[in-house]
């Protein structure tokens, strides 16, 4: 009885929704797909076709700040390309919010795939979300260039649409381990991951290297909390975990996860009286970590990232100014990478001209060579970026400061 009632009301709604969305996307494709369409958008842009560059990442939820860092960078790249006025097409920007969650990512991806004007995607931002959505993108031949998904296994998925402009955790994890053991003198390390597709392999890579460097490593998997990401953990788990860490006598804690949960752990460690060193990864490289953990707790924390510190790069100063003007906040973690990812796509579109299609973009990306503000973008055959570089940062005086390359600093 109940089932029938539900079916009777839900099915028509779904059908109606599908019909509506189908109308929407077919309209868009007619203005985007052909240059002779003469539709309303083509009229005021001089009959140039319109291509949409989409961004997929968290725009709401506990890790939204990381997502917003990238969103505005992509938007800026699109605006700049249009403003230059030399394009044989008009670029548009759109986005899909996946909250960084593998559960929501396929739906966000589908939204972009169904929008026929979308020619390439910057993202998905998080590794778990990428893993969940990439099969859909691959089926639709819609190329994705992630500025921030660093899980190593993503490159083994066999998805021809997967590209990333950032080094993977196989580079980051061992570099962190070497830094902790050799530069910081860590002997007894407590390593924690957030049980996510991002945290677990990163912790594993870290643990293996730290052990071979001669340190003792205790590992525990602590699921990310519902408060921070779509994890299953309870915020009340951290005091207990902090006690375990303190009782273990560890001198260094390595956290493989994101800033929101890391801040909770850091606070709990502080409350438990832990006085050792804290280290985390690119997921924690965000000023919000300091804000949420509190300055006295966060002070001294080491954070690694495959992302370069561009504040000293003269070519990037223009980007920093314009980013702030657009986003109303400073360029953050992965903003420059997202800018590079978007511009890599734009450089491919420039080559292809007005006749670009999803398939042509996908075919051209493997041979791209674009000089970005963070690095030279060239892809390996599995979609990984060529060359690796891991940087170490530290919280000093309430600010995240670059200490330079992990191997030299």
């Amino acid at each position: 009885m109940l089932n029938r009632r539900v079916v009777l009301t839900v099915v028509p709604l779904v059908v109606a929704g599908m019909a509506l969305s189908a109308c929407g996307s077919s309209k868009k494709s007619s203005s985007g797909g052909s240059s002779t369409g003469g539709s309303s958008t083509a009229a005021n842009t001089g009959n140039k076709p319109t291509f949409t560059i989409a961004y997929e990442g968290p725009l709401s939820g506990g890790n939204a700040q990381l997502g917003l860092n990238m969103k505005f960078a992509v938007q800026l790249a699109v605006n700049e390309a249009n403003a230059a006025g030399d394009l044989p097409f008009t670029l548009k920007y759109t986005d899909a919010d996946d909250q960084g969650s593998p559960d929501q990512s396929p739906a966000a991806a589908q939204k972009l795939i169904d929008d026929k004007s979308v020619i390439a995607v910057v993202g998905p931002a998080f590794s778990g979300a990428t893993k969940a959505a990439e099969p859909k993108f691959a089926d639709a031949s819609l190329a994705t260039v992630s500025p921030s998904a660093t899980s190593p296994t993503l490159a083994d998925g066999g998805w021809k649409t997967f590209f990333r402009v950032v080094a993977d955790d196989n580079a980051q994890g061992p570099a962190d381990a070497d830094y902790a053991t050799k530069k910081l003198g860590a002997k007894n390390i407590f390593a924690i991951d957030d049980a996510s597709a991002y945290g677990q392999p990163l912790e594993k890579a870290f643990e293996d290297q730290a052990k071979s460097d001669g340190a003792t490593v205790t590992h525990q998997s602590v699921p990310g909390t519902t408060q921070c990401q779509a994890g299953s953990g309870n915020t009340q788990q951290y005091p207990g975990v902090a006690t375990t860490i303190k009782n273990s006598g560890a001198d260094t804690v390595f956290y493989a996860g994101y800033y929101c949960d890391f801040a909770l752990l850091a606070k709990a460690l502080n409350a438990a009286g832990f006085t050792g060193k804290l280290m985390s990864d690119d997921g924690s490289l965000d000023p919000k970590y300091i804000e949420q953990a509190g300055q006295n707790v966060a002070e001294g924390t080491y954070i690694s990232c495959a992302c370069a510190d561009i504040s000293t790069n003269s070519a990037a100063q223009d980007f920093l100014t314009k980013f702030k003007a657009l986003a109303k906040f400073d360029s953050g973690t992965y903003s420059p990478e997202a800018f590079d990812a978007a511009n890599t796509i734009i450089s491919v579109l420039k080559q292809l001209g007005a006749g670009a299609t999803r398939e042509k973009v996908l075919a051209a990306l493997p041979s791209v060579d674009y000089k970005g503000i963070t690095k030279e973008v060239k892809f390996q055959s599995n979609g990984n970026i060529s060359g690796t570089a891991v940087y170490i940062y530290q919280v000093k005086g309430g600010k995240i400061t670059s200490l330079g390359l992990a191997s030299t600093s």
């Binding site: 939204a64 525990q220 602590v222 699921p223 909390t225 519902t226 915020t235 009340q236 375990t244 409350a271």
Partner: protein, 312 residues
């Protein structure tokens, strides 16, 4: 092996967690007692208490660094503000989401959906109004264990845990007395036992139900404040997991049974914290729910059975 050292360093936080679960679980159990339905929006009552306490506490503390008697005063202010917010939200919830359905004799399932709807609504309303990031309360006392209040078996008890214990025990005792020895308690028990007969005997059922919601809301709201005082702070999604856990605790102890909810909450909190050093944080829930299933297999009505109707 895992608990041979530092036993009490896991037991004490576990007990503190257990007190919070117990306070929340009482909200589920009281409402179940009088209406035989699960108020799934109770986790948002808890969340409202967190925000109520946060705003009151941050407003009164300002830029002060409180100590001594002043600290105690601030905690009481936060506790009262949290409890009142929880009580008000629970009262409104009953008026908006339950009473109209009750008047129309809606099926039980409708109440459930209505509660889930209110839960989402309140959660997102809070997210929209108060921001999506977790917010921290200004400390009414120092949270570091460098100055533990006193020690139990060699482990220092921090002020935070002591505050939870004192506040929770006070509230639990008051509630127990209230249900067993006051007119309102008599009304609650009468409605729980047989609503129709109670109404024939002159009990105003609607009034008793509203009061039950308020009592549950006061306890849940106070728990929200105590929870928010901890390192996690207050956020619009804070209610979900503790809500599920407290519901589990209520079932474990025997839903509808007030002392059962207290026992279930304490047990669950302690078990969770004890499981963590032994098998890791990602297995905590597995242990809790395996125990729940085992208990329900042997005693389907929970440890102490369903019996709000009878004098506890």
């Amino acid at each position: 092996m895992c608990l041979t050292h530092h036993f009490s360093s896991y037991f004490i936080p576990g007990l503190a967690n257990g007190f919070l679960y117990a306070l929340i679980a009482l909200g589920y159990t009281l409402v179940y007692g009088v209406l035989q339905l699960i108020n799934f929006a109770h986790s948002e009552v808890f969340m409202s208490g967190g925000f109520g306490g946060l705003f009151a506490l941050n407003a009164v503390i300002g830029s002060k660094t409180p100590s001594g008697l002043e600290s105690a005063g601030f905690v009481v202010i936060g506790l009262v503000a949290g409890a009142v917010s929880g009580g008000v939200v629970a009262f409104v919830l009953e008026r908006v989401a339950y009473r109209p359905l009750r008047r129309r004799h809606a099926p039980k399932l409708a109440f459930l959906i209505s509660a889930i709807g209110m839960s989402y609504f309140l959660q997102n309303l809070a997210g929209k109004e108060f921001g999506r990031d977790a917010r921290t309360m200004k400390a009414p006392f120092t949270l570091t264990p460098s100055k533990p209040l006193f020690t139990v078996f060699g482990e220092g008890v921090t002020v935070y845990y002591a505050v939870i214990a004192v506040a929770a025990i006070t509230m639990l005792v008051l509630l127990d007395r209230m249900v067993n020895a006051t007119r309102l308690g008599q009304g609650i028990r009468a409605v729980a036992q047989d609503a129709d007969t109670a109404s024939l005997m002159g009990v105003d059922i609607n009034r008793v139900i509203a009061q039950t919601f308020i009592v549950g809301g006061l306890l849940g709201g106070a728990a929200g404040f105590l929870f928010g005082l901890g390192t996690a702070g207050v956020s619009y999604t804070m209610g979900f997991v503790p809500g599920v856990k407290a519901f589990t605790a209520a079932v474990l102890g025997g839903i509808g049974n007030i002392r059962g909810a207290m026992l279930g909450g304490l047990l669950l909190g302690v078990i969770e914290n004890m499981a963590q050093p032994c098998i890791g944080a990602n297995w905590i829930d597995v242990v809790s729910f395996v125990i729940l299933v085992l208990v329900l297999m042997v005693r389907p009505t929970g440890l102490l059975g369903e019996r709000l109707g009878r004098s506890a």
